[in-house]
Structures are given as structure tokens and as C-alpha cells.
């Protein structure tokens, strides 16, 4: 069904009228000044493929869109071989500062930017015993907060991916943003990338169960998968009510849980039916296969894991990480009326990775409007549930009650995915 909104999405000029015109009106005034705070700026790092979009524009609604923003300063924590930060600074006329405070003040005495984009992904950082990479996002954020406090002024902040590997640090970050009343947007690009097909959970629908299938390592890729699932289930009746318990199981226990109704095989079939990259026989000779039901899954996936997340309103949600079975991220949920909604969160290929254009568009909107287009609580709860799942993993896969994840919020009704 083609809605007027969807059609307008295909029209460059109609979209101009709807969303970009306010931006263009502002373009008459000086562009908003942006500081980028990042771990590393090398080819195909998040800082490169997101940061570059502020510098050279990006595809949006059938136009090559140049945001009315000016990157004026950069802090980069590490400069390994292949560092591009100096070259970008020279070419695009911004300054690399040795500290975050100096970047935010552009070398002066007071906050001198209109927004901060924190990209703490990639670079050489230690892992902890839970397998988490200790990216210093919390530390970067707190340095920004410290400048805001000292200078008596706050500006919008975007934080790429999870707020922190630590649920407690994530909580503090959100609390600081509320205390100082600045717009705070965060998260993965999966919630805002294209979907195949382009579906949402009907707003306010009662959900019976949800299942996400993902691939890749922990904790970079399971975060993406969990937040993709979160952006779907948060639309359910009553909104997000918080997490009651989590449990991460691995190996044969995952298959046994499926046999015992611990997660829905019907939903696995729906999710896998959305995959374009099934492995095994499909890789061998490109034949499609009913991987959820043909018995091949345990042969293909040597080390499955299931992230079992029980919500305060009773909803069961499960992330299955199935390395070896597929190469994409797919979701399925059953509504109370029995209908099954399923989709693939489409990750366009390298090097363009245009999913990050979808995310940069949200960042741009927050900077220009002063409002985060979706609640940071989505990312907070996802960060925290992942952190606790990994506790379960290292504590003998036990079920953990999580009263501290009593994070309640309402999702916006409008959809934000696709370009």
C-alpha cells in the first residue's frame, strides 16, 4: 500500500517542502557549529563514514544533501596508521584539539559549538572478562558534561552505538542529559536503516512474542541486533515497561530451548524467510532453503547463543545470534491476534554503508530542531540489557532478575527508518 507519506518520500522536492525547507531557511543564518569527539578516524571507521557525511554531504530523499552544519573542531583519541584526521582537518578547515574540552571550546575559554557528535567505536581499547570492548564513551561524554557545567550552557549531543558497555554508566549519562536539559540522541543505525519489507509493529499493538536473529561478535554486533529488536517492540501496547530478567544461554541449550517453547520456531521461520544470505546449501549452490525446519541449523551454527529478555509487562523477547547460518539481521514478532510481522534490517554494502546516512539524517535533525527524534531511553535500555546478558554469560548462564532496568518510556508514533 502506498501512503502519501511514502510517495512523498520518493519525491525530492516534495520532501524538500516537508523536512528540508526549515533546514534551508536556517541555512541563511550561519551553519551550526559541530565538534566531533572520536576514538579514531581511519577508513571505514564509524568516524569516517559518519563524520565525512557532515563534510561532503550524503544521499537523502533522492538528493545529494549538504547539511547546513560546519564541523569546526575534532578530538581524536588515537592516531594509528591510516589516520585521516589531519588530512580531513586540513582539507575541510577545522582544527584538531588535544583535549575534548579544547575541542568544545575551539581553543577558547567557553563552549564554542552548537552540538557534539561522540563516535567512540573502533580503535585499540582493552576488553574485559565479559568480552566487552571498553570504549571510553562515558568518559568522553562526562568531559563534555563537565564543559557544559563549567560554562553554564549545554548543547545537543549524539552518542554513536551503545551509551556505554556499562548499564550503570549509561544510566548516569541519561541522568546528566536530563539534569542539564540538553537533547541527547544515541544508538545504532539499524533502527533507522531501510527495512525489507518496510514495516513497523502497528502502534499500540499487543504483542505475544518477539524474536531477533543476528550475527557477529559480542559486544559490537549483539548490541545492533538488540537495539533493532528494541525499536520494534517499544511500539507495543503500554510502551516499554522495563526489563524483568535476562538470561544468556549458549550451545545445545539454545536448540533445546527452541524445542521446549523457550523461543518460537514459528518466529524463527519468519525471521529466516527474510534473510538474503542463508549459508550451508544456499552458499553451496544458491538454493533457497527452509533453514528453520530442515534440520540443518545445528550443523551450521557451532556456537549459538540466545539472549532471553523478559519484560515487566510479561513480553518475552529473544535474540538468537546464529553465526554460520546467515549474514543479515532479521526480526519477527507475533501480535496477540496471531498475525506475524517480519522484516530484514537492511545493511547496504561497503564502502557506501548508506545505513549511516540514515543515522546522520537523524543527528542533523536533532541539531537543527533541538529535539532528539527518538528517546535515548531506547539506547539506554539496550545498553543495560546487553550488559546484564553478558553478566549471565559469565555467571554460568543464570537467569538474572533486573529490577534496576525499570526503564519506562513511550516510543514516538511516527516511523524513522529508511532514507
Amino acid at each position: 500500500m502506498i501512503t502519501r507519506r511514502a510517495f512523498l518520500g520518493a519525491l525530492g522536492t516534495a520532501t524538500l517542502a516537508e523536512t528540508v525547507l526549515p533546514v534551508m531557511a536556517r541555512a541563511a543564518s550561519p551553519p551550526r557549529r559541530v565538534a566531533i569527539v572520536t576514538t579514531v578516524w581511519t577508513y571505514q571507521s564509524h568516524a569516517q563514514h559518519m563524520g565525512d557525511r557532515f563534510l561532503v554531504g550524503y544521499p537523502r530523499h533522492g538528493r545529494w544533501h549538504q547539511p547546513p552544519l560546519q564541523v569546526v573542531s575534532l578530538y581524536v583519541d588515537q592516531r594509528p596508521d591510516g589516520d585521516l584526521s589531519r588530512q580531513r582537518a586540513a582539507e575541510h578547515g577545522f582544527t584538531v584539539y588535544p583535549t575534548i574540552a579544547e575541542a568544545l571550546r575551539c581553543g577558547g575559554n567557553t563552549l564554542a559549538v552548537d552540538a557534539v557528535v561522540i563516535i567512540g567505536e573502533h580503535g585499540n581499547y582493552p576488553h574485559n572478562h565479559k568480552g566487552q570492548i571498553l570504549y571510553p564513551r562515558y568518559e568522553f561524554f562526562e568531559e563534555c558534561v563537565s564543559v557544559f557545567e563549567q560554562d553554564g550552557r549545554s548543547v545537543p549531543v549524539f552518542n554513536d552505538k551503545h551509551l556505554s558497555y556499562s548499564g550503570e554508566k549509561a544510566r548516569k549519562m541519561v541522568a546528566d542529559s536530563k539534569r542539564l536539559k540538553f537533547p541527547f540522541l544515541a544508538g545504532s543505525s539499524l533502527p533507522v536503516t531501510w527495512r525489507l519489507p518496510p514495516v513497523e509493529i502497528p502502534y499500540g499493538a499487543k504483542l505475544k512474542e518477539a524474536l531477533m536473529v543476528g550475527v557477529g561478535g559480542s559486544d559490537p554486533m549483539d548490541f545492533h541486533a538488540l537495539e533493532a529488536m528494541q525499536c520494534m517492540v517499544e511500539r507495543r501496547r503500554g510502551g516499554e515497561t522495563g526489563i524483568k530478567s535476562v538470561q544468556l544461554i549458549e550451545g545445545d541449550a539454545v536448540w533445546r530451548a527452541g524445542e521446549n517453547g523457550g523461543w518460537s520456531k514459528r518466529l524463527l521461520e519468519a525471521a529466516l524467510s527474510r534473510s538474503d544470505s542463508l549459508q550451508g546449501d544456499s552458499d553451496l549452490d544458491s538454493r533457497p532453503q527452509d533453514l528453520a525446519n530442515n534440520g540443518q541449523l545445528p550443523k551450521l551454527v557451532k556456537n549459538p547463543s540466545a539472549y532471553r529478555i523478559e519484560r515487566n509487562d510479561g513480553l518475552r523477547t529473544t535474540l538468537l545470534m546464529l553465526n554460520g547460518a546467515l549474514g543479515d539481521f532479521c526480526f519477527a514478532a507475533q501480535l496477540a491476534n496471531g498475525a506475524v510481522v517480519s522484516t530484514q534490517f537492511f545493511l547496504p554494502p561497503t564502502p557506501n554503508v548508506t545505513y549511516s546516512a540514515c543515522l546522520v539524517a537523524q543527528i542533523e535533525e536533532m541539531i537543527l530542531t533541538g529535539r532528539a527524534p527518538y528517546p535515548v531511553e531506547r539506547t539506554q535500555i539496550t545498553s543495560a540489557m546487553l550488559d546484564r546478558c553478558l553478566d549471565s554469560k559469565v555467571e554460568g548462564h543464570r537467569r538474572i532478575e533486573t529490577p534496576e532496568l525499570n526503564i519506562r518510556y513511550r516510543a514516538p508514533r511516527g516511523s524513522r527508518f529508511g532514507g
Binding site: 563514514h49 565525512d52 544521499p59 533522492g62 545529494w64 525489507l196 538474503d276 533457497p288 549474514g327 554503508v353
Partner: protein, 424 residues
């Protein structure tokens, strides 16, 4: 009956009874399908299409199994990488026959199938002086017709991609299907695959100019872009009126057209090119260390020096450019159309190119509908026209890019109002 669920069987029966009796419905059995193909190997079109009938495919949240059986297979070229033998072994209802006639009659004297897949793509076939691969689709079709005429029975036919490299052949194929009154469907998978965004041209919109881009490929690549573009513009006000002239551009003439700045000045509207390239997920970056940059004309020249284009003039005045960046500019097919008043509609035709080529799934879904209802879900005239446009464009290239009048392409038709691309 190995995959027959009661539900899918009844769905098929009802659909056909509503449209008139057919042998399989009267006999209360599943339709039997013959597949005729040039070659059957991994990533060949026959593998993608026939495998979906044999093994099912993901569809609307299920692993869907078509309610019909491929019972006979003809494969002209069997090489070391052949998969047809493995498929026949794994699917006992499927038998391989040495001739097309035997495949259609299952070795008997009467037509013994209820639908025919004609997949003449891939395999070793001669290439003519114009660059067209002489796939024997017309020859296969003629052999099918011999059986139809001899037995006095017909069955719906699906022809993969364009009808033929040769316009006269294509015309004869459509005329014969009309004469013998069987359902005839054809074409590329691009018109029916996912789109980004997931939209169609509003039915009856007035379109002034349209442009399609991709990465080149005389004939085999051209038909895909031309048909993707056609599936958009056929919905314009008044429906399809046909094409009256074509002009090809290559070499310096191409770059002159690129820089002309408008159709009137001998090129195309650069805003349409910007719109089309801004839908791409595979835009080659012209600058080292940058991963997604919009190319300047000098970048295009450097990255795709052998690019070419076709400019088509439609009978109702619509102007269409197919810009083929031969080289490394854009890896996906995108179309942009300027609607009267200046709005620009643009869309990517997304082809998932992973282990499975799932853009064949919506095409197979429509072929199933052809076999169950006896009617093509979209008009064969679309592919007749795009076959003729492709051949005419190549002819203009061959004749030193001379503008050619195309009175034979005065093909009028009305598209289906309902969109047929993949969106569920």
C-alpha cells in the same frame, strides 16, 4: 503432491475455477510444470527460478512452497558445473528429457504440462557484430508452439528477460500467443523486486522526462534498466503510447550529452541524474579514503570512459534516457522521473546479491500466479516494447549512433493499476 497443503491446493483451485476450467483443476491435481533452459548452474537464471519451484522460498514470513510441481526439464548445455542432475535426483518427480517436445509431453504424445518456464539465459551462445548474445528463446518458443499446435492444447508460458535479441522474433512470439490464446508473461525481475523507497509512480501522473542508470552491458544489461524504467513510466497519464525514435550516444558524443544540461540541449536533465545516483547504495567513491561522495563529471569520465546512453522519444512526448556507466560508477539500477510541475520521483531497484538472489522470489511469485490463473499479472506488451527498445538502441549504436525512427514500436497498452513490485 509432495508439497501440497490443503490450503494452497484450495487457493489454486478457487483461483482457476473463477477464471475458467483447466485440466489440472478439473482433475483436482496440482499443476505440472515444464522448465526449458539453456543451462543450469549456480547463479544461472534457471537455477534461481526453477529452484524456487523445487525447494520453495521465503515469502511473507513463511518458507513458501509453490502449489505445483516441476515435472520435466530440458537443459541444452550440461557442463561440469551443472546442477540439473543433482536437482532431478533430489526431486524424484522431476525428469530430464532430451528434447523440448518430450519435456512438454513427458515422453508421450499429448501435452502433459500445465505451464512452461522458458529460461534462455547463460550458456555458451554466439555473439553477433552488434554485441547481442543469440540466446535461442525464439527457437524454444517455436518448438513449444509446434507441440501446442500438434496436440491442440496450450498452457501458459513464462519467458525470462526480453523475448528475443531480435525484434521480428519477439513480435511473432506475442502474436502467436494471442492467436493460440494462452497466458504469456515475460521480462526482467527488476520491475518486481524491492524498491527503495518502497513506492510506485502515482497512477496517471504526468511525466515529462525520465532517466535510468546502471553499469552497462549491451543487450543483457540494457534490457534490465529499460524495463525497470518502463515499469515506472507506463503508469503515466494515458498509459503507454509506444516509442517513436531512439538515438544512442558513445565516446565524446556521450560526454557532450552529459554536459549539455538538458534534453533540449542534446542530453538529459542533470537533476534526474543526481536523483538517480542519490538513491544508489553502490556509488563508487571517486576520492581515495572517502567512502560515499557524489561524483563530478570529470570523475565520471575518469571512472567510466566507455559509458554509453540511449535517448528514447515516446509517442506522447515523454523523453527517456538510459545512461549506462560502463566502468566503475554505480553498481545498482536507479530511475528518476520528472513529474509535470518539477517534482522528481526517484527509486532504487534493489537486487539482493548474496548467497540467494532473492529478487527472483517476487518474479516466481508472479509466475505462480500466471500458472494458477492462466493470465499474466502484467501485460506482455511491456516486455515486447522493452525488447524492441533494447534492439533499437543497439541498432543505433551499431549505425554510428544515428537517430532511428521506430514506427514499429507504436505499442499501446495499459498497465495494471495495482503495483506488482515486492513490498510485503
Amino acid at each position: 503432491m509432495m508439497y501440497c497443503s490443503r490450503r494452497s491446493f484450495l487457493a489454486g483451485t478457487t483461483a482457476t475455477l473463477a477464471l475458467g476450467p483447466s485440466a489440472w483443476a478439473a482433475e483436482r491435481r496440482r499443476p505440472r510444470i515444464a522448465a526449458l533452459t539453456t543451462i543450469y548452474h549456480k547463479y544461472s537464471h534457471s537455477q534461481h527460478i526453477v529452484d524456487r519451484f523445487l525447494d520453495g522460498y521465503g515469502w511473507e514470513g513463511r518458507h513458501h512452497r509453490p502449489a505445483m510441481d516441476v515435472v520435466s526439464l530440458y537443459v541444452e548445455q550440461v557442463g561440469d558445473n551443472d546442477l540439473s542432475r543433482e536437482r532431478a535426483q533430489r526431486h524424484p518427480q522431476l525428469k530430464i528429457y532430451p528434447t523440448i517436445a518430450e519435456a512438454l509431453t513427458q515422453g508421450g504424445s499429448d501435452l502433459a504440462v500445465d505451464g512452461v518456464l522458458l529460461i534462455g539465459e547463460h550458456g555458451k551462445y554466439p555473439v553477433n557484430e552488434k554485441g547481442q548474445t543469440l540466446y535461442p528463446r525464439y527457437e524454444y518458443f517455436q518448438q513449444i508452439m509446434e507441440v501446442y499446435r500438434r496436440t491442440g492444447r496450450t498452457a501458459p508460458v513464462f519467458n525470462d528477460k526480453h523475448l528475443s535479441w531480435n525484434w521480428d522474433y519477439a513480435k511473432r512470439m506475442v502474436e502467436t500467443a494471442r492467436e493460440l490464446r494462452f497466458g504469456f508473461m515475460a521480462g526482467s525481475s527488476l520491475p518486481v523486486t524491492w524498491r527503495q523507497p518502497s513506492v510506485d509512480l502515482p497512477f496517471g501522473a504526468s511525466v515529462d522526462e525520465v532517466l535510468g542508470v546502471w553499469g552497462g552491458g549491451i543487450d543483457g544489461g540494457d534490457i534490465h534498466v529499460i524495463e525497470a524504467m518502463q515499469s515506472i513510466v507506463e503508469r503515466r497519464r494515458g498509459g503507454e503510447t509506444g516509442v517513436r525514435a531512439v538515438e544512442a550516444f558513445r565516446g565524446e558524443r556521450f560526454w557532450k550529452a552529459m554536459e549539455a544540461g538538458s534534453w533540449k540541449a542534446g542530453g538529459w536533465d542533470p537533476r534526474l541524474l543526481e536523483a538517480a545516483l542519490s538513491r544508489s547504495n553502490q556509488l563508487n567513491s571517486p576520492r581515495a579514503t572517502y567512502s560515499n561522495v557524489f561524483p563530478r563529471t570529470e570523475d565520471l569520465r575518469r571512472l567510466a570512459p566507455d559509458s554509453y546512453a540511449y535517448r528514447f522519444e515516446y509517442a506522447d512526448g515523454l523523453k527517456a534516457s538510459i545512461v549506462q556507466f560502463k566502468g566503475n560508477v554505480v553498481g545498482d539500477c536507479n530511475v528518476a522521473a520528472r513529474i509535470k510541475g518539477g517534482d522528481i520521483f526517484s527509486v532504487l531497484f534493489y537486487l539482493p546479491y548474496y548467497t540467494m538472489r532473492n529478487f527472483f522470489s517476487p518474479q516466481v511469485h508472479h509466475i505462480e500466479s500466471l500458472f494458477l490463473t492462466g493470465k499474466s499479472p502484467y501485460p506482455i506488451e511491456r516486455t515486447l516494447l522493452t525488447t524492441g527498445m533494447t534492439a533499437a538502441g543497439i541498432e543505433s549504436l551499431f549505425q554510428n549512433q544515428r537517430r532511428l525512427e521506430t514506427p514499429h514500436l507504436a505499442i499501446r497498452y495499459q498497465p495494471t493499476r495495482q503495483s506488482t513490485f515486492w513490498r510485503t
